[in-house]
């Protein structure tokens, strides 16, 4: 498994991952933790929002279809809350329909990844999407 990044590239980064499927959630958590992130998890949108408010993460990975409050609800709340609006959120969805990407972007998500996550390429794909954010760019510096 080759990765472009050192295993502590996300050191001390707080990340919130929201997914109603426990297995999927755990895989994401494992990968992010391997790269040094402090991962806070939630299984529905409401808990997810609470976590975001509490921990003010660097970024959020959010599933779309969830009970109680779905991904659209989460991003809406984040957009309306001035404290949260700057936090980049990445949407995850199992249904790769045309227009989903556009819809996600117009709703306020920074970008979009298809499910299921492939552990080998998750981090690469993730950074490729977040590369336009200054502080992330720093993290993309070559392996020390």
């Amino acid at each position: 498994m080759s990765s472009e990044f050192a295993s502590d590239v996300l050191h001390e980064w707080v990340v919130v991952v929201i997914d109603d499927e426990p297995d999927s959630l755990e895989v994401a958590q494992l990968v992010l933790e391997y790269y040094g992130a402090d991962v806070k998890t939630a299984v529905n949108g409401a808990d997810g929002l609470a976590a975001i408010r509490q921990y003010r993460p660097r970024f959020v990975v959010c599933d779309i279809s969830m009970p109680v409050l779905d991904g659209w609800g989460v991003i809406r709340e984040m957009q309306h809350d001035p404290a949260l609006t700057h936090i980049p959120a990445i949407a995850l969805t199992a249904h790769a329909m045309v227009g989903d990407r556009e819809r996600a972007l117009s709703a306020g998500f920074h970008s979009y990844l298809p499910k299921p996550l492939t552990p080998a390429t998750f981090i690469n794909d993730l950074f490729r999407l977040l590369v336009d954010i200054p502080e992330f760019k720093i993290a993309l510096s070559p392996r020390s």
């Binding site: 498994m1 990765s3 499927e21 297995d23 999927s24 755990e26 895989v27 494992l30 990968v31 933790e33 391997y34 199992a94 045309v98 499910k115 299921p116 996550l117 492939t118 552990p119 080998a120």
Partner: protein, 617 residues
Amino acid sequence: MQANRRKSQSVARLLSRLLVVLSALGILLALTAIGAGTFSTVFAAQRILEQEAQRALGEFDLFVSDLRRDLLVTAAALIHSNNDGQILRQSLQRNPAIFSITAIRLGGQLLEQRSRLAGVTAQPINVQEWSSTVAAGGVYIGPVDSSAFGVPFVQLVVPASFDDGTVYGALVADVDLTAMQALVSEVGVYGSGYAYILNRADGRLLVYRDLARVQAGETFREALTVDRRVFPGLLGITMGLNGEMVVSIRKDFRSVNWVGVVEAPLWQVLRPYQPVLIVLVTVLIVIVVLVVVTLRFVRQRVTMPLNALRHSVEELRAGNMAHRVNGKYFHPDEIGLLGETLNEMAEQVETRNRTLEWANQMAQESSRVKSEFLATMSHELRTPLNAILGFSGVLLGGMAGKIDEKAHKLISRVEVNARRLLSLINDVLDISKIEAGRMELIETSISPAQLVEAWKAEIEVMAAEKGLTVTTEIDPALPPQLVIDKDRLTQIVSNLLSNAVKFTEKGGVRLTWTARGKIFTIQVEDTGVGIPPHAMNYIFEEFRQVDGSYRRVYGGTGLGLAIVRHLCRLMGGMVQVSSELGKGSTFTVTLPLKTIADEPVQPVQPVQPVQSTASEG
């Protein structure tokens, strides 16, 4: 549709017309018979009247004629005789009808007179009446008079002249017409037929069996009209003396200016003919009644039921299956039976329609249920597998702690199988989706060049591992942008490419993309083992590989080519294969070429797959 129909005829109307024609013919025949009968009867009557006229009137004419001749002879004899009285007496002897005869000068002086009965003088003589006629040499005949002696008589005056022709006087004879009168009166043809004589000058009745009318001086000028008939040209049928329709014969007297007529009442003439007439008229009436009855019958039993039937059939044809033929037009005959059968048929169709409707709804429901099932199952099947792959990936990536080589190998095998299972599930779900008609085509505008690059990149790894080359070629005629379902096309090509690499040990794989008018073809050629001829027939079927053993060697799910074929069909194209054992195989995909100009880019509705057949794709 209406215009194409032959101009329709009406059986009933034809039948009616035929009946009318036949009956008209019948009526015509009857009328002709009536006419002919009438004609011949009247014609015969005329002959009989003719005979009578000859007998009675002819006789009368002759009588007067003889008398006139005799008197002229007597008048001539007077000149050459001394004894006038004897001459006159001889005339009396010769003519029993004369009862007195007088010779008289034109001036009125009596010359000689003799009378049959002694003591009976002659009638008064009024010279003025006839002097001018006689002086001119003509014969005068006076009116018939019955007052004297109770017998009809007439005065006949002939001129007496010298040898040189100068008329000096006249001979006046009183003629007894009793006998002649009787002759005329006794004419009784056809029972109430009769004869009469008129004076041609004034139409006055001179001789008739009813003496009172003669005495009254009645006239009947109508008889004098030469050709006055009730029906011009028709058999002498006219208005008679007694004001009724008669058959009449007219005879002009030659001896004297008289007209004789024999008449017989028409009804009497036609009486023997009556029975025949009644029969014929009855026949006529019977014919008419029969025709009317038959027409009505036809209308009731044929026309109206047939019309009702036709109307019903039209209703049913228009789709109104609830309609039933109205029983009131029908009778227990073939047409009625037809109506009943039609109703039964409509009933059946209605029932069948209902059944089909129900079956259709069930099928639709079933289809809907299947789709939901597919969608749910798809998600349910993939979720655990993705979890397996996810955790394997984490373990193999060392992200859950270090693992030794042996563990690494084993977890690798787990992952490989999981991938295989996922691949299988995806293929099976795809095929189910296509066959359920639930596969949507999402057409977008793509660049062929970019696609080909991506495909090449994807297969190159696997090819390089086996030392195979991958070449691609794009036809310059291909437009820079195409409208197609990118993912499905990729699915097709990936399948073909991976098959090509799988079945080739040396050489390489070549992909060629060409355009031709409204279609394009993508060809995947390999230099592999090839496909045996017998396998060509079933190579595209689900789970059929060339030989059971191949599966283990070459991998794959067995559904790849089946999916390729289904997708091609779905997209409106086809896939074909040609191969030579040991040399290689070529798969050719042909699909419609669409550009943005042809149609706007939007998702296509689910398309029903075409029924699969064995050989071609």
